[in-house]
């Protein structure tokens, strides 16, 4: 059962990573325009370089 010492922290870390990613998507307003986002990938407007913030 000693393997639990590694496995439990690993599972928590992985889950926490997912949660952090979710926070990031939420903070950077990625759920504001789902329809627009699905269309924007079809545009080649920023293919060469990302827009300047």
């Amino acid at each position: 059962m000693n393997v639990l010492v590694y496995l439990i922290p690993i599972s928590l870390l992985l889950g926490g990573g997912g949660l952090a990613a979710f926070f990031w998507t939420l903070r950077s307003e990625q759920y504001d325009d789902p329809d627009g986002n699905s269309q924007r990938i079809l545009s080649d407007r920023w293919d060469d370089r990302p827009p300047e913030e």
Partner: protein, 731 residues
């Protein structure tokens, strides 16, 4: 730049946009401002690129971002840029755009709340999954030290999560308790807190059962319900706000320095405002100078324009048709007739606010029952076990958790989200939370005529007796005017391929008509009295070529799209239908005949309409009122549930529960059916929940429930009710 013209202007604009991206983005140091534009018809990737690229290219524009979900563009600009210019520019290059009044849009504030809920939901989901993982290990046989360690880890995850995610319930429960009321959140909070406290105690005592997973999944499922509920409302609210924001209330005030554009709120009694042809009168007042005709249909339902001149009293909401006028303000803002009408509405509304939704009714029975059951279980087991507080408390907590109100917390919002989402796609916007349930009970429908059953736009009648030459002259005269009859005549003549005759010196005579010179003769198009013609008994304009007998062009108000389908659909459902209008009997009878309504009333005053609707309500009918005008607002508010088209005055839309977004009346028939099946689903979900509780509660009361059984039952019931709600989406 050259303006690309094609069926999809956006497609042409897209490559351009790529080349020009970045230009104009940088600010110039000045304090900027933010403009919102509504773009009702954008739908594709190329549209987004076209709008953003072309806007960025305009002078003074710093940044532009399109939101396709909201069909809206947010533009950061220099302070001297007028929203109107940008809207007109976009409309000019093929993207229909309207200015939005940013003050009316509170979506940023509501958005924050949605994000907050979503964040709490995410944290609860993360914690629930991890704790569930550990719990499965315990259930599958972990014992002694391993079990205790798993319980402690679970506790370490659960406590901060509950502290963060469940705040929503605690706050709402506390607000209710402080004023001595019980709401749904009281048993929820109690179940969560007791489960948490009990599990902590058990863990410290190396006990066998801990309910950390139950407390967390309860939080997660209920938060999911809360979020769905919030989403439905915020979609409805933002669409309703957008409708309101489209009407930017502005007026042209005359000052010594010339005309200035001010917001209506700034006007004071005694100010003089200019009302140009085609504009809505922004205030109540008296005409000082100018002759014109007024369209009063939104206020009174009359379909014929009324003449106006100096000393005519005008009211907010009337539309100036022919000549420019100046109006002295006698009442503005809160005192205007628009707002006085609101008083009538306020009285009627209080009656409606008393409507309790199904969820509220269920909560009223549920909340006390759960508390009594849990307390009863605690006392009974205390007595049976001879004072074993730990055992008795364990069972009481199990009862509280097992009776989890998932059906109430998740199933009602799941059904309303599915149903209102479908109605929204068909072009109906539900503004009120209980509108769906009230719509399901309707058995009588009352329609308004002008602007509701009809489009409020006259269409010229085909008449074989019209000579081509007359039409050519009429077209030449009508072309320059913004009078609705002239516009309609122009459209009809163009459609027939008529080419305008050569008429010189065309000018509008305010309040009378249009005059010009054709082949050396004076030609006139306008009112019967002006030309000395015999008026025919319907909406008409007359053409006279000097010497000849005047020719009449008659017009009929065209029916709104799919009105017949909607009415036959409602009739098929066995509903009574009445048509009430403030218009003259002949016009009402004509429309009633065309749509197949046998029960109609004409010449009805606003109070009369409201009274009629109220009387129907008293006689036990559930009335659905459909109307658009100011004269309908009181009736709309008095009805059990009310619908107004998007073209209605804001006052009418505000009191309506449902707004028809499109031009078509078609969704109406289906909407009542939809509401009925949605209400049926909600009731089914209650039945599912009750059935599951009927089995689970005795088990919990007998002290046989384990955390595994509670987790299984909770998940199963939640999934069942959600799936049942999803059946609505299909049909």
């Amino acid at each position: 730049m050259s303006v690309p013209l094609s069926a999809c202007p956006a497609c042409d604009a897209a490559p351009l946009a790529k080349a020009q991206a970045g230009k104009g983005v940088a600010g110039n140091g000045m304090e900027g401002k933010r403009i919102m534009l509504s773009l009702p018809h954008i739908y594709c990737a190329a549209c987004i690129a076209g709008v953003e690229g072309n806007l960025a290219q305009q002078d003074g524009v710093r940044a532009a971002r399109v939101n396709l979900t909201l069909k809206r563009a947010t533009v950061d600009v220099d302070p001297d840029v007028e929203p109107e210019t940008l809207a007109n520019y976009l409309t000019g290059i093929g993207f229909e755009a309207y200015e939005l009044d940013a003050g009316q849009l509170t979506s940023t504030a509501t958005d924050k709340m949605g994000k907050d809920l979503l964040m709490r939901l995410g944290v609860a989901g993360f914690a629930m999954m991890n704790v569930m993982l550990l719990s499965v290990a315990v259930w599958s046989g972990a014992t002694d030290a391993t079990r205790d360690m798993f319980h402690w880890i679970s506790a370490a995850i659960a406590i901060p999560t509950i502290g963060f995610s469940s705040q929503v319930f605690f706050k709402s429960a506390w607000t209710a308790l402080r004023v001595g009321r019980l709401n749904m959140d009281v048993p929820i909070s109690l179940a969560i807190l007791l489960a948490l406290g009990m599990s902590l105690y058990e863990t410290a005592q190396s006990g066998e059962h801990a309910y950390f997973d139950a407390a967390l999944s309860l939080t997660f499922f209920l938060l999911a319900g809360r979020y769905l509920d919030y989403r439905t409302r915020s979609v409805a609210r933002s669409a309703a706000e957008e409708l309101a924001a489209l009407e930017v209330p502005r007026a042209l005030r005359l000052t010594d320095a010339g005309d200035e554009q001010v917001s209506v709120a700034e006007l004071a009694v005694g100010d003089i405002v200019r009302v140009v042809p085609g504009a809505r009168v922004p205030v109540d007042g008296i005409v000082v100078t100018g002759e014109s005709e007024l369209d009063r249909s939104l206020l009174t339902g009359e379909s014929l324009p009324v003449a106006a001149g100096p000393d005519t009293v005008v009211s907010t909401g009337e539309v100036n048709l022919t000549g420019p006028m100046t109006v002295r303000v006698t009442a503005a803002g809160r005192d205007s007739s628009l707002h006085r009408m609101a008083d009538l509405v306020a009285i009627a509304e209080t009656a409606r606010n008393r409507y309790t939704s199904l969820a509220d009714k269920a909560a009223k029975i549920y909340a006390p029952l759960v508390h009594i059951l849990a307390l009863g279980a605690f006392l009974a087991w205390l007595w049976i076990s001879g004072g074993d507080v730990r055992l008795a408390l364990n069972i009481a907590v199990a009862v509280l958790i097992i009776t989890c109100p998932c059906a109430l917390g998740l199933a009602v919002p799941a059904v309303t989200t599915a149903a209102s989402g479908r109605l929204f796609k068909q072009g109906m916007l539900l503004k009120s939370a209980t509108a769906m349930e009230r719509l399901a009970e309707v058995d009588h429908v009352v329609f308004d005529k002008t602007g509701t059953l009809t489009q409020g736009k006259p269409v010229m009648d085909e008449n074989a007796q019209h000579r081509t030459q007359d039409l050519e002259i009429a077209l030449a005269l009508a072309e320059g005017s913004s009078h609705p009859l002239a516009l309609s005549l122009t459209q009809a003549a163009r459609a027939k391929g008529i080419v305008p005759a050569e008429v010189s010196r065309v000018h509008e005579v305010p309040g009378k008509g249009i005059e010009g010179i054709w082949n050396g003769k004076t030609v006139r198009l306008g009112r019967a009295e002006w030309l000395g013609a015999n008026a025919v008994g319907q909406t008409a304009t007359y053409l006279s070529v000097s010497g000849a007998r005047p020719v009449a062009f008659t017009f009929t108000d065209r029916l709104r799209e799919a009105v017949n389908e909607a009415i036959s659909g409602l009739k098929a459902q066995g509903m009574g239908i009445t048509l009430i209008s403030g218009d003259v009997p002949a016009a009402v009878a004509d429309i009633a005949g065309r749509v197949g309504i046998s029960d109609w009333k004409a010449d009805t005053l606003p109070e009369g309409k409201a009274e009629y609707v109220a009387r129907l309500g008293k006689s036990g009918k559930r009335v659905l009122m459909v109307g658009d005008g100011l004269n309908d607002t009181a009736a709309l508010a008095a009805a059990h549930v009310s619908i107004s088209p998007a073209s209605a005055l804001e006052a009418a839309r505000v009191v309506s529960d449902i707004v028809l977004l499109g031009q078509s009346m078609g969704p109406l028939g289906e909407a009542t059916l939809m509401a009925k099946s949605a209400t049926r689903r909600i009731k089914e979900n209650f039945a599912i929940a009750a059935g599951y509780n009927a089995i689970a509660i005795p088990i919990a009361l007998l002290g046989l429930a384990t955390p595994l059984a509670a987790a299984l039952a909770m998940s199963l019931s939640s999934v069942t009710v959600s799936l049942n709600a999803l059946r609505l989406k299909k049909g």
